[in-house]
Structure formats: structure tokens, C-alpha cells
């Protein structure tokens, strides 16, 4: 697997790199995915404890994801070109999967704290 880690990717306007190291790219995407999923779960528990219902919870989730994006960009030391090939990956990846985990733990925590 380590031998085939250098792959050619042709540029199509999004990135200027002719080739990049795909294995490190996968590692970076995995880090972003784990961070976003964990923070979605924690955000869901916090929203349930605070007693948010309806639209307020989704606004809270949007705020949380915005803060997560800013913090991830800060972790990449503000030079996205070194670690990713496009801005969309670090800003938008994992957004919808995190939303489902958020809603699950939000209803879970709300039920435990406010109903039972």
C-alpha cells in the first residue's frame, strides 16, 4: 500500500498541484471527519440539556459547525494549500452526517433530562 501512495491527479481548476500525496490527503480527511462527528455528538447533548426545541436547536448546530470550521482552519495554520486540495473539503465535509448524529443525541439528552 505504501508503494502506490503517489498518485497522479490531473488539475482541473480547483487545485494547482499536478500530483499530491493521496495517503496524507486521506489522513487529513479522516481527522476532519472524526472531529466533526465528535463535536456534533457533544453539541447534541448540550442542546438537549439546555432545552432547545425546534428551530433554535438547528441554529445552535449551524453555529457549532461554523465554529468547528474556523477552528479546523486554525489547526491547518491557515494555509489550506499545504494540507488539502480545495476549500470545500475542510469547510463542508461531514456536515450532513454530523447533523444526523446531532439530532439523535439532542432528542436522547432532551428525553433524559426533561421528560423522564
Amino acid at each position: 500500500m505504501a508503494v502506490s501512495s503517489q498518485e497522479k491527479k490531473s488539475s482541473n481548476g480547483v487545485n494547482e498541484l499536478l500530483t499530491f500525496n493521496a495517503e496524507n490527503m486521506q489522513n487529513n480527511m479522516k481527522i476532519i471527519y472524526y472531529s466533526r462527528t465528535f463535536l456534533s455528538i457533544i453539541g447534541g447533548v448540550v442542546a438537549g440539556i439546555l432545552g432547545f426545541t425546534g428551530l433554535k436547536g438547528f441554529i445552535f448546530y449551524l453555529l457549532l459547525m461554523a465554529v468547528t470550521s474556523v477552528v479546523l482552519v486554525a489547526k491547518a495554520k491557515f494555509s489550506i494549500q499545504t494540507y488539502f486540495d480545495s476549500w470545500n473539503r475542510v469547510l463542508l465535509d461531514g456536515f450532513l452526517g454530523g447533523l444526523m448524529s446531532f439530532v439523535l443525541f439532542w432528542t436522547f439528552a432532551y428525553d433524559i433530562v426533561h421528560i423522564f
Binding site: T19, F20, I31, G51, Y83
Partner: protein, 106 residues
């Protein structure tokens, strides 16, 4: 990394403690028959503190970002750990066009 993990566990414990405080607060409100408008102030402080700790843990535990440029310092040599006879070096020869019609010289 173990420190980040410990901080994450601590943040989750703070969240559980805040949840328990809110449950007790709701029990108190049931007794006095008031409406629930929001958790008490110290629970909100506790939740924000737990959130900050978990955010810090979510950044440090999964690992560091690795550079994807083939010509950065840590990507120059790719070597299989088992066999040092086969090593791959990243250099600019990759972008030369391949000559497909080489003829055997005889």
C-alpha cells in the same frame, strides 16, 4: 495525545454533571409548580466549559495534519519499513512526458 483524551473524558464528565444538576432543578420546579424557562446560570457556565474542553480534545486527539505536497521535507523519501532495498524518492522526473516509441539499439 493521552492528555487530550483525558481532557475529553473530563469534558464529558462535566456535561454529565450538568445534566444531573438540570434534572434536580426540574424536580425542584415540579414541586414549586413553575415553568421551565432555562437551566440555572451555573449550569450554563458548566456546559460552556465542557463544550470548550471537548472542542480542544476533538482537535488534538485525532492526530496532526500531514502535508500533501510531494516536495515538502517529510515527504521526500518513502521507504517500506520491512525492506530497505526498495526506496521511492519524490523528484521532478514525474512530470516529464513518457517516450512511448523507444527503439532497441542494436
Amino acid at each position: 495525545m493521552a492528555l487530550g483524551f483525558a481532557i475529553g473524558v473530563f469534558g464529558v464528565l462535566i456535561l454529565f454533571h450538568a445534566a444531573y444538576s438540570t434534572i434536580q432543578y426540574r424536580g425542584l420546579l415540579k414541586i414549586t409548580e413553575e415553568e421551565f424557562s432555562g437551566p440555572p446560570f451555573n449550569v450554563v457556565i458548566e456546559l460552556s466549559l465542557g463544550l470548550v474542553l471537548c472542542m480542544w480534545a476533538a482537535l488534538t486527539v485525532p492526530g496532526k495534519f500531514l502535508s500533501i505536497h510531494p516536495d515538502s521535507e517529510e515527504n521526500r523519501i518513502v521507504s517500506l519499513p520491512a525492506n530497505l532495498d526498495f526506496m521511492i524518492f519524490n523528484h521532478r522526473g514525474k512530470v516529464f512526458p513518457v517516450e512511448m516509441d523507444l527503439k532497441l539499439k542494436h
